[in-house]
């Protein structure tokens, strides 16, 4: 190919890559700058933005974010496994298509539509409370909006599709002869599942854990709209610092710390899952 064509193939992608790098460099650079209240300009180099993050309000946000990520990962795996299993193993093709289409819907709803729909479900006058009150089961509404539990429910909902896709890929690769062998050697269905199917689907489980964790860590619309400021996470505080206090240096340092925390958490998860992988035997 001529060098002319070569340049045309490459320069748009290179320009875009430069924009990505420049944006990330700006975050990094702002995080080491002094905040000047009331101004978008920044002062000299400082570490104050990072030391400022040890205040309880930020530590709480880190803790909330970590907890939500862990809980969402566990719950979406528990919910996703039966769906993925049905998606691959159901005898009827109609059921397999139904499971596929329904499991993927949250992916295509869009952040705002999905989160708003959950507000309609969880709100004080929403679906859950309305129905419970109609049935005479409660007098005062259950507190679901603006709570950790409410945010968690909506986060699990959006994480299910990715987990189902990853688990289904993994389950569909299992050679069923292994299961038949276990059964013919006298293992019951539960034992066959626990000792053969589950360990063999470990690659999908590990991929799901990593993705679900990272996704939840970067979620913004759900904690912002359902948490309503009462479930502060890294993402909601970054927004608040940027747009309410105009403290971009602190917002930047919080962002950087969030990414570092994710990297460390994923590294630890990697060590943990390496043990799981050896249990899987492959």
């Amino acid at each position: 190919m001529g060098s002319h064509l070569r340049a045309w193939l490459l320069w748009p992608a290179v320009l875009l890559a430069l924009c990505i790098v420049a944006s990330l460099v700006s975050v990094l650079q702002f995080s080491f700058r002094t905040f000047i209240p009331g101004s978008l300009d920044t002062g000299g180099l400082t570490l104050a933005n990072f030391t400022g993050l040890t205040q309880p309000v930020y530590l709480r946000a880190f803790f909330n974010t970590l907890m939500l990520s862990v809980e969402t990962t566990v719950l979406s795996l528990l919910a996703g496994y039966p769906l993925a299993y049905a998606l691959v193993r159901a005898k009827s093709k109609a059921i397999r298509s139904l499971v596929l289409v329904v499991s993927l819907t949250p992916l295509f709803l869009g952040e705002i539509v999905r989160t708003y729909s959950w507000i309609a479900v969880l709100g004080n006058n929403g679906f859950v409370n309305g129905m419970l009150r109609k049935l005479g089961l409660i007098e005062w509404p259950l507190e679901l909006m603006f709570t950790h539990l409410g945010v968690l429910i909506a986060l699990v909902h959006v994480t299910i599709p990715v987990v189902v896709l990853m688990l289904a890929t993994s389950i569909s690769h299992i050679n069923r002869d292994y299961e038949k062998a276990a059964a013919s050697l006298g293992a019951g269905p539960t034992k066959t599942f626990l000792t053969v199917t589950l360990p063999l689907s470990m690659p999908g489980i590990i991929a799901s854990i990593t993705t679900a964790f990272a996704w939840t860590f970067s979620a913004f619309a759900t904690p912002q709209m359902i948490g309503g400021g009462r479930v502060p996470t890294v993402s909601t505080l970054v927004y608040q610092l940027g747009f309410s206090s105009m403290n971009f240096p602190l917002a930047a340092s919080l962002s950087i710390s969030g990414i570092l925390l994710t990297v460390v958490a994923l590294f630890l998860l990697g060590l943990l899952t390496r043990r799981l992988r050896t249990v899987g035997g492959h």
Binding site: L16, V27, A86, L98, E111, V113, Y116, Y239
Partner: protein
């Protein structure tokens, strides 16, 4: 077969029941928001006492939604087409050429998959303010191209894997210039994969919210940003009506896409292995 039949009765009932409950959980918000949109009352209440279509009317007359929709169409069309062009050119380069920094370039362009949208949005906002650029459509479009490009790349790359290179060689040996080969052989053969990548990019861009929130202004706010601002100001079910229309239109597009080219192909599920 022996395995399935040997399942004890409670398990045979419990399994399907569990799957049905999980599917109900996934669909619950869609059903509830649909019911809410027909509620006559000006706040969300359940179950509705009276039904009306008034919120569907308000949805079309609320100026911010009209403006937001216009912005969203501009941004979605520009960014998905740009991402498709950049992604296709780059895929050809990565597949056919050797150049220094290839791995690094590909890694950087995939970074937005793992970097939170709020960090990228914040970064772009600060970058723009540093070089004294206005937060215009241009910035918003670049932002969306960054976010959707990894999906386009994957889609294009998978279909390039399935492309028979001999067809291109035949065209070249018959005297076609490289550009002509690209336009008459490569691109038409890749078309289904390209369309799938473009569609996915367009849906992602149209619904993108977090990064857009950082880089839009009142004048350029996209529909999701306008919707977010609406919830903060009003409690009436107009947004439920808009959600229903959004879900219906997205659903229709996906059904049509599935009819004509197969959803699994667009999502590249088959690219990962057999189904």
């Amino acid at each position: 077969m022996r395995i399935r039949n040997s399942l004890p009765l409670p398990l045979r009932v419990a399994g399907p029941l569990l799957v049905a409950l999980l599917l109900a959980f996934v669909l619950l918000p869609v059903v509830v928001v649909t019911l809410a949109s027909f509620n006559d009352k000006a706040i969300l209440t359940f179950p509705p006492d009276a039904y009306s279509l008034r919120w569907y009317g308000r949805m079309f007359t609320y100026p911010d939604f009209r403006e937001g929709f216009k912005s969203s169409i501009i941004v979605t069309l520009s960014s998905s087409v740009l991402a498709l062009v950049i992604g296709t050119l780059l895929s050809v380069a990565v597949k056919r050429l050797e150049f220094p920094g290839k791995q690094t370039l590909v890694a950087i362009l995939h970074a937005p998959l793992v970097i939170p949208h709020f960090t990228l949005g914040l970064g772009l906002l600060m970058l723009v303010s540093q070089i004294n650029l206005m937060r215009s459509y241009g910035v918003l479009i670049v932002c969306h191209v960054m976010l959707v490009l990894p999906f386009v790349l994957r889609s294009v790359y998978v279909s390039m894997e399935n492309l028979d290179i001999r067809l291109e060689q035949a065209a070249a040996s018959l005297g076609a210039t490289p550009v002509k080969v690209l336009c008459t052989i490569t691109v038409p053969l890749l078309a289904p994969g390209l369309f799938g990548g473009w569609l996915f990019a367009a849906i992602m861009s149209f619904s993108e919210f977090t990064a857009s929130l950082y880089v839009t202004t009142q004048a350029t706010q996209t529909l999701p940003v306008a919707m977010y601002n609406y919830v903060r100001e009003f409690a009436d079910p107009t947004l439920a009506a808009l959600s229903v229309v959004y879900i219906a239109v997205t659903g229709l597009i996906l059904i049509l896409a599935n009819r004509f080219m197969g959803l699994s192909r667009i999502l590249n599920i088959e690219g990962e292995g057999h189904a």
